[in-house]
């Protein structure tokens, strides 16, 4: 029990360090937007500056919420799962990410392959994890010279329902992700070939999904690289 508590404290400390590095830039953006508004009031860029303030504060707050949800979930030794609609979570997530993606010149594509019933999970955990992951992917994609798109996918596999996010960034590998998890909160750029910065969104999502016992893995689908997880179908009757 004491060992588990100690392990969680260390884990949370590292995740928090990663998060703290990540949220500095949204604050810098907001401060600069305020300065630009002071320097050039009434200029045409007004709308753009307000959008920047709204989107960056939203992304930072969502990331903080994800971290806090993870800490709260750790209080319970077992997290009861319930039947949830994966397609509805993905639709909601795509909607949550839409403005942020557009502001970063990133195309968002939602692919829900086939019909399927509910899966076992937690709506709040899955939506928050996918949001965090989505923000991280959008930022990584926007750092590429050649614009790319972010694809949110749900599909049936032999092991259950797989869902995840995919892009054209070919530097995202299982080896990089494994190393990054060890370096999280310690290195400046644990996912250096994937994204500049601390990559906190990826780690917050990973921590949340670990609570669902659905670990996130690097996978490849449709010629794209991504991070995905597998959820088990619910036995509940599905009315499709």
């Amino acid at each position: 029990m004491a060992a588990r508590k100690r392990r969680l404290e260390v884990e949370n400390g590292l995740l928090f360090a990663s998060l703290a590095e990540q949220v500095k830039e949204p604050f810098v953006q907001i401060a600069h937007a305020a300065e630009l508004l002071r320097l050039h009031p009434g200029k045409n860029e007004l709308e753009q500056l307000f959008t920047t303030i709204t989107l960056t504060s939203e992304s930072a707050l969502k990331l903080i919420d994800g971290y806090l949800l993870n800490v709260r979930l750790q209080q319970a030794s077992e997290l009861p799962l319930e039947p949830v609609s994966l397609s509805s979570i993905l639709y909601d997530t795509a909607q949550d990410l839409d403005s942020y993606a557009r502001a970063h010149d990133c195309e968002l594509d939602l692919q829900i392959k086939g019909k399927y019933g509910p899966v076992m999970g937690r709506h709040d955990v899955l939506r928050t994890a996918l949001q965090s992951l989505g923000y991280a992917f959008i930022e990584a994609i926007s750092q590429q010279e050649n614009h790319s798109k972010l694809t949110l996918i749900a599909r049936r596999t032999s092991k259950g329902m797989s869902t995840g996010m995919y892009s054209d960034i070919d530097t995202l590998s299982a080896q990089l992700f494994k190393q990054a998890k060890v370096l999280k909160g310690l290195a400046r750029q644990p996912l250096s070939n994937f994204t500049a910065g601390s990559g906190a969104g990826v780690f917050v999502a990973d921590a949340l999904l670990a609570r669902l016992k659905s670990p996130m893995k690097v996978s490849r689908y449709g010629g794209q690289n991504g991070l995905s997880l597998t959820l088990q179908s619910s036995g509940q009757l599905s009315l499709v």
Binding site: K24, E25, F27, A33, L39, D105, S142, Q189, S192, A196
Partner: protein, 131 residues
């Protein structure tokens, strides 16, 4: 003056670009080290502003490459980051070796301070070249 800006964050880059262009400068903005070198070759910038943390090759790697060309030895460089200098593991000696004229910590930097730093750096460079 012509400014080469290497900044991976698009929203932040637009803010720097908007401010500096409004001050009368030409800003060439690139996202990574590789395209930054290409842009430096084509545009001959008077000053380079580079973020330490870039996707792929870092700002430091960019500077090793950039400073290896004799044409660019005297071009002033500002290194910027949200990481404090001590945590970035860059001593003053290391920055001097890389030819970094100023290390600016983004969370404590206003756009006007960036403008003032540029004004300080470029005349000093011109004086040095004349002497």
């Amino acid at each position: 003056m012509i400014i080469l800006l290497l900044e991976p964050n698009r929203l932040l880059a637009n803010q720097y670009k908007g401010y500096l262009e409004n001050e009368g400068h030409k800003v060439i903005w690139k996202l990574n080290a590789q395209t930054g070198i290409g842009a430096a070759d084509e545009q001959k910038p008077d000053v380079v502003i580079v973020e330490l943390l870039l996707a792929g090759h870092s700002g430091v790697e960019f500077l090793y490459e950039f400073r290896s060309y004799s044409d660019w030895v005297n071009v002033p460089v500002i290194l910027m980051s949200s990481v404090v200098q001590s945590a970035a593991g860059l001593s003053d000696g290391a920055l001097q070796e890389l030819g970094v004229n100023a290390y600016l910590y983004k969370p404590e930097l206003s756009l006007e301070q960036l403008g003032r730093t540029l004004k300080l750096l470029v005349p000093s460079k011109q004086k040095r070249l004349k002497s």
